[in-house]
């Protein structure tokens, strides 16, 4: 029996047209993304593995990576709590100004990192708006760790909230109501019913926040000043190393930083896909 052949018009482009389109797309991606990536790795290893390891074990490099890690970890913890609260309020509560707030959450995506740093400087800097209060309390924010954390918090604000909002919305409230009917307390319901449903959104939000925090540059440069050994993060080290023509050091640190965020994001993505596929969803 001759079955109806399902025609796919686009594949009816002549074979060469099809090949041309695929060729253009692959070439473009190879030229735009893969070529620079390869060049960086090759550049870092131009003097061999020993040079890379040597460059990375310098005390200022280690200190810079350490500072980056601390800032990223604090950022993740704060957003785990406050980012979740923001998502919760935007999905579950109604109040005037809710739509404006929902729009503002996306601001950090579009605000230049330099502007973020500058805004914080206007608030917390020596001549800043809050300077009198800060001097009285003897807290230093600008050109110190607190300012750099604030800058990183600003830049990573949307990730947690935007990952959680759709999940929270899709989950709805039925199961929570059922739990409440069965006599569960508010917290019990949250930890036993709501949170497990949000888990992957939560984990993915954390990873994105962490990866973004590792790579933040412009905002911490302006608010932190990039003082070597004090406020120099990994990205600021790369910037300085390039300036001082410490090529291998700069390239190696860039490879490590890029690889780390890449593995983090792609790894979580893979895990999540496996998990959701395993459940047959």
């Amino acid at each position: 029996m001759t079955t109806m052949v399902r025609t796919r018009p686009i594949t009816r482009y002549h074979a060469w047209g099809r090949r041309l389109l695929i060729g253009v797309a692959v070439t473009y991606v190879a030229f735009l993304i893969l070529a620079p990536l390869t060049a960086l790795v090759a550049g870092a290893f131009q003097d061999g593995l020993g040079a890379v390891l040597n460059a990375l074990s310098q005390p200022d490099v280690r200190q810079a990576f350490w500072l980056t890690l601390i800032i990223a970890l604090i950022t993740v913890v704060v957003h785990a709590v406050c980012g979740t609260a923001v998502a919760w309020v935007l999905v579950r509560h109604r109040f005037p100004g809710r739509r404006l707030l929902n729009g503002l959450i996306d601001m950090p995506f579009a605000v230049s990192a330099v502007v973020v740093g500058y805004m914080l400087l206007l608030l917390f800097g020596r001549q800043g708006l809050l300077a009198p209060i800060l001097t009285r309390l003897d807290i230093q924010v600008a050109f110190a760790l607190p300012g750099m954390i604030l800058a990183t918090l600003f830049v990573t604000l949307p990730f947690m909230t935007r990952e959680l909002m759709p999940v929270l919305e899709a989950f709805g409230t039925q199961q929570e109501k059922a739990a409440a009917t069965l006599g569960a307390s508010g917290w019990q319901t949250f930890w036993r019913v709501t949170f497990p449903a949000l888990r992957w959104g939560f984990i993915y939000g954390l990873t994105l926040t962490f990866a973004r925090a590792l790579g933040e540059f412009g905002a911490v440069l302006v608010i932190g000043g990039g003082v070597q050994g004090r406020t120099e993060t990994a990205t600021l080290f790369i910037y300085r190393a390039l300036d001082e023509r410490m090529v291998v050091g700069a390239y190696s640190a860039a490879v490590v930083l890029g690889l780390f965020s890449l593995l983090l994001v792609m790894g979580t993505d893979l895990l999540r896909r496996r998990e959701t596929a395993g459940r047959g969803r």
């Binding site: 550049g43 990192a113 390239y251």
Partner: protein, 280 residues
């Protein structure tokens, strides 16, 4: 990603002992300190001498040049990115070929790589001391690094996922029946593309393009590495702000920041409006 999410209807769910006011208090205080206060301060600072004062700062030669450079490189990037993003999404959705899943994975790379690292990558590849960079300069007279082409390349790298990933889902859901019908009626593949495939993609394509434009206006990390900080030549708006902050010209820094903020927020509002129209 950068898509504005539509607000769902508020729903009443579980009750937590210290109540909704506790959560709401935390969330709103947090947003106010982190987001609203800094934004207000910069507008107050930039508009201290009124709109004319702001205008004077923006039209100072170096500022004006930086703003123009930022806008035109972002525009060129947006055009190339829209075309190539559309093509890549089409190829990924409609064709099967070896290495397809690979190509699909590579598209997300720019989202995970810090933009400063992107800048370093481009310098390693196209820098004047590097093999390829030197060759391009000697043979063709092309300058990539410390020049607009480098800026455009960096922006293309960073924003590549935006267009592809907004178009892809729409393309996947598209019914083939209409294309079949058009083909049966004798339409050429080009006509099918223009009249059947393209119209439903117009909305996601526009919003993807606008988002990449907004993202490009503020980009700093990659550009400061690739273009350097040469006023009147390769200095973009974000790098200009850094320069003004460092030389203590508060008015100049605030004025440029306000222009960048306003542009970005307008574009985001536009995308939001497009999404709402798309759902209706």
């Amino acid at each position: 990603m950068m898509t504005t999410i539509a607000l769902p209807k508020a729903t009443k769910g579980l009750r937590i002992p210290w109540g909704r006011w506790g959560v709401r208090g935390v969330a709103l205080t947090y947003l106010t300190i982190l987001l609203i206060l800094p934004l207000l301060v910069i507008f107050r600072d930039g508009l201290r001498e009124g709109v004319t004062g702001l205008w004077q700062q923006i039209t100072a030669p170096a500022a004006w040049h930086a703003l123009k450079l930022t806008l035109w490189t972002a525009a060129v990037m947006t055009v190339i990115n829209s075309a190539m993003g559309l093509l890549t999404a089409l190829v990924l959705v409609r064709y099967d070929f070896p290495g397809k899943s690979w190509l699909n994975a590579v598209i997300d790379l720019p989202l995970a790589i810090p933009t400063l690292v992107t800048g370093v990558m481009l310098v390693v590849l196209y820098g004047p001391q590097q093999a390829l960079g030197a060759w391009l300069k000697e043979e063709w007279g092309w300058r990539i690094i410390f020049a607009p082409p480098g800026i455009i390349l960096a922006l293309l790298f960073i924003t590549f996922p935006f267009v592809v990933r907004t178009i892809q889902p729409v393309l996947m859901e598209m019914e083939r029946a209409q294309e079949d019908a058009a083909a049966t009626l004798g339409a050429s593949s080009w006509i099918i593309f223009r009249r059947v495939i393209l119209p439903p993609l117009a909305l996601p394509l526009t919003s993807g393009a606008l988002l990449s434009f907004a993202r490009a206006i503020g980009e700093f990390g990659a550009i400061v590495i690739v273009a350097g900080n040469i006023p009147m030549l390769s200095q973009t708006a974000a790098v200009y702000v850094l320069g003004q902050v460092e030389s203590d010209n508060r008015m100049g820094a605030s004025a440029m920041s306000i222009v960048m903020l306003t542009t970005a927020f307008t574009v985001i509002l536009l995308v939001d409006a497009l999404h709402r129209r798309g759902r209706e």
